[in-house]
Amino acid sequence: MNYKEEISISEKKLRRKTIVSFSIFILLMLSGIFLWKKLHQEPQIAQTPKTLRKVLNTNENIFSGFLSDQHLAKSYPVSASVKNVRVNGNVGMGNDFDPSTWKLKVVRNYGDTLFLTLDDIKALPKTEIIFDFKCIEGWSQVTHWGGVKFSDFAAKYNLNAQTKMNYAGMETPDKKYYVGLDMPSMMHPQTILCYEMNGKPLPMNQGYPLRLMTTVKYGIKDLKRIQTIFFSNERPRDYWYERGYDYFSGL
């Protein structure tokens, strides 16, 4: 190493070098502050500055590349699942809901909507997942869910054309809560249309009669009380995306 190599330099030159270095230094620090301020004044897309959104979309492109049907979330034994499952949200869960008249609407195309009862869905093979559910807030819980794999459901109801599209959207009956999921996540083997929790029918506050449950997204995507499922090549509207969160929100 050449450390300790002494150099002689005239005081004038040293002073000049110091002034130049510090000028550059201060200029860079100021432009850092300027960029930071500018970032916060930028036009926003869904409550997030444009530049940040762009990078988040790039993150999605990078990390969705790792998403695969072979990458399964760890499964736990039934005994590991908690009894008191945390209830964390009630948007779209208004009281003016009559479960007895509920039917799942699957919009296959304009004017081509499938109406299904809970029994129709229960008639399909049941899949159970016991996994570490993760909330975007940072907590997690090992929970136990049962339902129909969405990929099984799609195969049964001939949604081949639909599942070739980029996204699936879901909404509650009152349309107050709505999510969009990329199709690879929707077709993941651990994504289910869920009607059971801990081996019993879903409680009302967990989204009876039908909710989404997936291991590859934060809980914000697990819409409770699904009324409508539809398909699109564009991103369907998404409740938490509109409130500044990442659209992908994948794990």
Binding site: M1, E6, I7, I9, S10, L52, F63, G138, Y245, L251
Partner: protein
């Protein structure tokens, strides 16, 4: 004439000053995220000694209800943190600069002596090169911490896709705890670093901007050897021979410079002659 040492290469100064605001943003956005599930505390049984963090702390910094903002900042600036850190690592590895930073066998023992010296318990500290033993341990440790933050962060960010990494780190919740502890360590590093920089004084701070460590002149050396040895950070009184040589050399330079004064060409020849002279010096100091 002044004598200087090229202390910090330009690349290291860039890495350092890019890292400073980037880490600040990562810690800040991390707090915005952590608030949404702020369950960590230090204590035993039911007794809490320190809660991370008290409500007054959140209020004072206006942290509550900014999770979305925190996540978007965190997952954008993570790239700058990781890339800057990775290039810094490569730079250290390939420039050989790592030899001045990575601790050696003696470092642990010497670091203790440095601490005693810094606390004014011991008068002298062990001889050192660019960094003392405590600095070597701290600056190497912080690189390891950076790697730790990236790995624990990745396994909280994508726990299903990187499930192997996540389970090596003890699972999702442990990875989150480790990520949090590393952040606390980073802030502690920052506090100690700032205190040490203030204590080390202007010349030391200036060298992180200009790269140049300005040495006291030969005259200063003759007059105040004790003060000088402290200032150049050798913690050793320079050998008298060295002083003589320095003085002689300075005179030589003055003579050399008279005709052409300080043109660039002259400065270059000076550098070379200084370098040669210095090799003798450093072997002596290394003993």
């Amino acid at each position: 004439m002044k004598k200087v040492i090229r202390k910090h290469p330009l690349a290291i100064r860039w890495f350092h000053w890019i890292n400073f605001p980037v880490i600040a943003i990562m810690v800040w956005s991390g707090m915005l995220i952590y608030w949404a599930n702020d369950i960590y505390k230090i204590g035993f049984g039911d007794k809490t000694i320190l809660k991370f963090f008290p409500d007054s702390f959140y209020k004072a910094l206006n942290i509550p209800f900014r999770l979305a903002e925190g996540m978007s900042l965190h997952f954008v600036f993570m790239w700058l943190f990781a890339i800057n850190g990775f290039i810094y690592f490569l730079y250290l590895a390939f420039s050989g600069e790592w030899k001045l930073i990575v601790p050696d066998k003696k470092s642990l023992k010497e670091a203790w002596l440095v601490v005693l010296h810094d606390l004014h318990i011991k008068k002298t500290a062990p001889p050192q090169k660019k960094y003392n033993a405590a600095q070597r341990i701290a600056y190497t440790g912080v690189i390891v911490m950076g790697l730790g933050s990236v790995l624990t962060g990745l396994s909280i960010y994508k726990p299903v896709q990187f499930h192997v990494l996540c389970s090596i780190l003890g699972g999702y919740e442990w990875a989150r705890i480790e990520h949090f502890i590393l952040t606390i360590l980073f802030t502690l590093f920052f506090v100690v670093h700032i205190v040490q920089v203030i204590l080390a004084g202007w010349n030391n701070f200036r060298s992180m901007v200009t790269g140049l460590d300005v040495l006291p002149t030969a005259n200063d050396m003759m007059l105040q050897p004790a003060a000088v040895s402290k200032e150049i950070g050798l913690h050793q009184t320079p050998a008298p021979v060295t002083q003589m040589q320095n003085e002689k050399n300075a005179n030589d330079l003055l003579r050399e410079e008279e005709p052409g004064d300080s043109s660039n060409k002259d400065a270059k020849t000076n550098e070379v002659s200084q370098g040669e002279h210095d090799n003798n010096n450093s072997t002596e100091a290394d003993k």
